[in-house]
Symmetry: C2
Subunit: 98 residues, 2 copies
Amino acid sequence: MSVLVWIIYDISENKVRNKVAKACKQYGLIRVQKSVFLGRLESNRFDELGEKCLSLINEKTDSVYLFPFCQDDFRRIKVMGQGFDRKLVNDEILAEFF
Amino acid sequence: MSVLVWIIYDISENKVRNKVAKACKQYGLIRVQKSVFLGRLESNRFDELGEKCLSLINEKTDSVYLFPFCQDDFRRIKVMGQGFDRKLVNDEILAEFF
C-alpha cells in the first residue's frame, strides 16, 4: 500500500542536513522547500526512511517529522506563502500530487 | 466532522509569528515545538484558522503548513528528536492524541 508523505526537518549541522535531504531524494521524494520534501512511498519504504533519518540525526538538537496522508487528507492540506518554493518546484510537478 | 491537525510555520517577523501562535492557541491547539502546534478542530474551524493565518503572514517571506489527518494517518506520524519539545508538552497531553 502506498502513502503520500510530507517530511519536514530542522537540523542544526549542514552535513547531517545534507544527508537527510539526500536520503529523501534517494527515496524519490521531491523538494518543495529548503527543509521540506513530499512524495509517494510504499508503506514499508516510509518506515525505512524514518529509520534512516533517525540514524542520521542528533536527537538532542534536531527534529524530523514524517507525515503520512491518505489521498483525502492530502487534498485538504493548506500550503501558504513560501510553503512551495517556486525555485524548487513548479505547478507541473505539483499537479502530480494535488 | 472534526479533524486532527498539525500546523508548522516559518515566519520571519517576531510580531507576526506571535500572532499566528496566539491564533493557534485561541483555536485550542497545543504547542509542541517553537513553531509547531497540534490539536483537534471542527472542519470549518480548520478552514477558518487557515484564513486567519493567511491574513496575518507575509506571503513573500513566510510559510505556513496546515496538515489535516484522519485518526489512522495521525497514528502513523513519526516524530523524531526534538519534534516534541518536552519543555512545552508532556506525555500526559500527548496521550490525548496518540
